[in-house]
């Protein structure tokens, strides 16, 4: 049927324009984003993103799982910041349950979350620079990213799909030598950020490709639902870690980088500054890491120690109950938002009082940020579309869910 075809809905508006498909396999679209362009020569007249190629129905799947079984699904939403998604979901469920989390678990969550932010920003910086033609940066960024993935592997046994945060605390105690490894990395990292900046910030070609390109005003960014560095790059000073703190972020001191320019370069500068601030938070977390348990004292929700299970009948029973029938969560609803590397990541969890969530909805920062694309690109060259897509840092797994 003709009206079913999305291309048909974007007919050339004038005789001199034509329709061009970019993606879904185009390397600069970071996964499977398809962008339909109406172009007049090299100039973009209209632009329409077409998404859904990675839709896996995670929200529907969640409704058929126990609360604790949803945690691994949240990893798979945004494969560049799995721990941020873990955190957001477990915070939402803990709020529903009214659980108190011990300080060490909270600080570990902050530490891992900031490492995740660095990891995500490194992938963004590498691929964004590569899209625009600076190939070297990619190799530098992935060198440091490898160290961070090794840290994830140390704590959780997994490099990417970590599921390290659990409802009520952490999955495991961090292993011996982990904090030394992170500290060594944290000492080394600021010099590495200087390296990236040496390659890009003062580079005249980088400046010409990014300054004044894909500009967006603060009003437009707010109206279109932008968040994170994309919003701060337009001069709106909001960071959920500082303004609506969660998981003990109120104990940390950090600056929130903003820029007034609203172009690709502004968003680049914001994220690079965030790399430096994040490593500062990591240092603070290492210095002040409290001692104590890593799991809340809630035997009906948190799995018992393996050692206790071998000696105590009660622990074994709780383990059996949690695994086979889950745990009931008091009826209610919670919207928990965290500052993910891409912006406001929100989990809306509705409970009907049973052991399975009635509804889990993920507010995707990228989905909203993607709506900025037409404002950014219309009237500009096709090459700027590539720069604009890179600058809003999309992850299609999170957009399509």
């Amino acid at each position: 049927m003709a009206h079913m075809n999305p291309i048909a809905s974007l007919e050339p508006g004038q005789d001199r324009t034509m329709i061009l498909n970019m993606g879904p396999q185009h390397p600069s679209t970071h996964g499977v984003l398809r962008v339909i362009l109406e172009i007049d020569g090299e100039t973009v007249v209209r632009i329409m993103p077409d998404i859904g190629y990675l839709h896996t129905g995670i929200e529907k799947t969640c409704e058929a799982k126990f609360y604790q079984q949803v945690v691994p699904l949240t990893d798979r939403i945004d494969y560049l910041c799995p721990l941020t998604n873990n955190l957001c979901y477990v915070l939402a469920v803990e709020k529903l349950l009214g659980l108190e989390i011990p300080p060490k678990a909270q600080w570990m969550r902050v530490l891992m979350n900031e490492l995740t932010r660095i990891n995500s920003h490194l992938v963004w910086l590498g691929t964004h620079a590569m899209d625009i033609g600076a190939l070297t940066v990619f190799l530098y960024c992935f060198r440091e990213r490898e160290d961070i993935l090794r840290m994830f592997e140390m704590v959780s046994g997994q490099r990417m799909m970590t599921s390290y945060f659990r409802i009520g605390g952490l999955a495991l105690e961090p292993p011996l030598g982990f904090f030394d490894y992170v500290r060594e990395f944290a000492n080394r990292f600021p010099a590495r950020v200087d390296e990236y900046e040496n390659l890009l910030t003062g580079n005249p070609i980088w400046g010409m490709r990014t300054k004044g390109v894909a500009r967006i005003t603060a009003e437009d960014a707010i109206a279109l639902g932008a968040s994170g560095p994309t919003l701060r790059g337009s001069g709106v000073d909001i960071d959920l870690r500082r303004d609506m703190p969660y998981s003990g972020y109120e104990n940390f001191k950090f600056k929130v980088p903003i820029s007034q320019d609203g172009d690709v370069f502004a968003r680049y500068i914001c994220r690079v500054q965030e790399l430096r601030e994040s490593i500062g938070i990591v240092q603070q977390a290492l210095d002040g890491m409290p001692e104590g348990p890593i799991k809340a004292d809630a035997p009906k929700v948190v799995l018992p120690d393996r050692e206790k299970m071998k000696t105590q009948m009660e622990a074994l029973i709780y383990h059996f109950k949690i695994i086979t029938e889950g745990f009931a969560v008091p009826a209610g609803e919670v919207y928990q938002a965290v500052e993910s590397p891409r912006g406001e990541m929100g989990y809306y969890v509705v409970s009907d009082g049973t052991a399975k969530p009635y509804r889990v909805h993920m507010r995707s920062a990228c989905l909203a940020n993607l709506q900025l694309l037409s404002k950014m690109c219309e009237g500009r060259l096709i090459a700027d579309v590539v720069a604009a897509i890179g600058s809003i840092d999309i992850v299609l797994g999170e957009i399509d869910r």
């Binding site: 049927m1 079913m4 075809n5 999305p6 809905s9 998404i51 859904g52 839709h55 129905g57 929200e59 529907k60 799947t61 409704e63 058929a64 709020k95 529903l96 009214g98 659980l99 108190e100 707010i222 109206a223 279109l224 639902g225 709106v236 909001i238 303004d243 609506m244 008091p330 209610g332 609803e333 919670v334 919207y335 938002a337 406001e344 929100g346 809306y348 509705v350 009635y358 509804r359 909805h361 507010r363 989905l367 909203a368 993607l370 709506q371 399509d400 869910r401």
Partner: protein, 164 residues
């Protein structure tokens, strides 16, 4: 930390700035709930746009950012659908949740795209996955599922494993 019971009494909640603003302007408020530090206001479906305009342009606490639009299907209860709007005030760092209840016979509500263009994708997603229509939406088509898909997957009467 035991959970505090939810407050659902409209009189007790009158002091909340968002609710006070809506009541003062005469918007049809069906109820309100303060639970787990989160404020929920139930608004009649005919006044959702008016309520959003009031909250967005409130000089004291402007809820100027539309965080999210989503839906919950309470099948087989009636009213079946709850459309949920999460608003954020960037200057005041406050959140409020607005809810509209819709019957299964005509699940439709006014679109907010003219207030916040951000609602465009959010409402398309709700339309795609729940079949709730948004009147006045400029481009109400499926967003995530294929164009020729039958049914709305997040409805509760749609099987998890899909139709085979």
């Amino acid at each position: 930390m035991p959970l505090a019971p939810a407050i659902t009494d409209l009189e007790q909640l009158r002091g909340h700035p968002a609710l006070a603003r809506l009541l003062a302007a005469g918007v049809v408020v069906e109820g309100a709930k303060f639970d787990r530090d989160e404020m929920t206001i139930y608004v009649d479906r005919s006044s959702i746009r008016e309520a959003c305009v009031l909250l967005r342009d409130d000089p004291g606490c402007p809820f100027n950012f539309l965080s999210d639009v989503t839906c919950v299907d309470w099948y087989p209860q009636e009213p079946r659908f709850e459309v949920i709007y999460h608003l954020l005030s960037i200057p005041k760092k406050e959140r409020v949740r607005l809810k509209v209840r819709l019957n299964s016979s005509s699940p439709a509500v006014e679109s907010l795209t003219s207030l916040w263009p951000a609602a465009n994708y959010f409402e398309r997603e709700v339309y795609d996955l729940f079949g709730v229509r948004f009147n006045g939406h400029p481009y109400l088509r499926r967003l995530l599922m294929p164009e020729d898909w039958e049914g709305h997957p997040l409805r509760k009467d749609y099987p998890v494993e899909g139709y085979r």
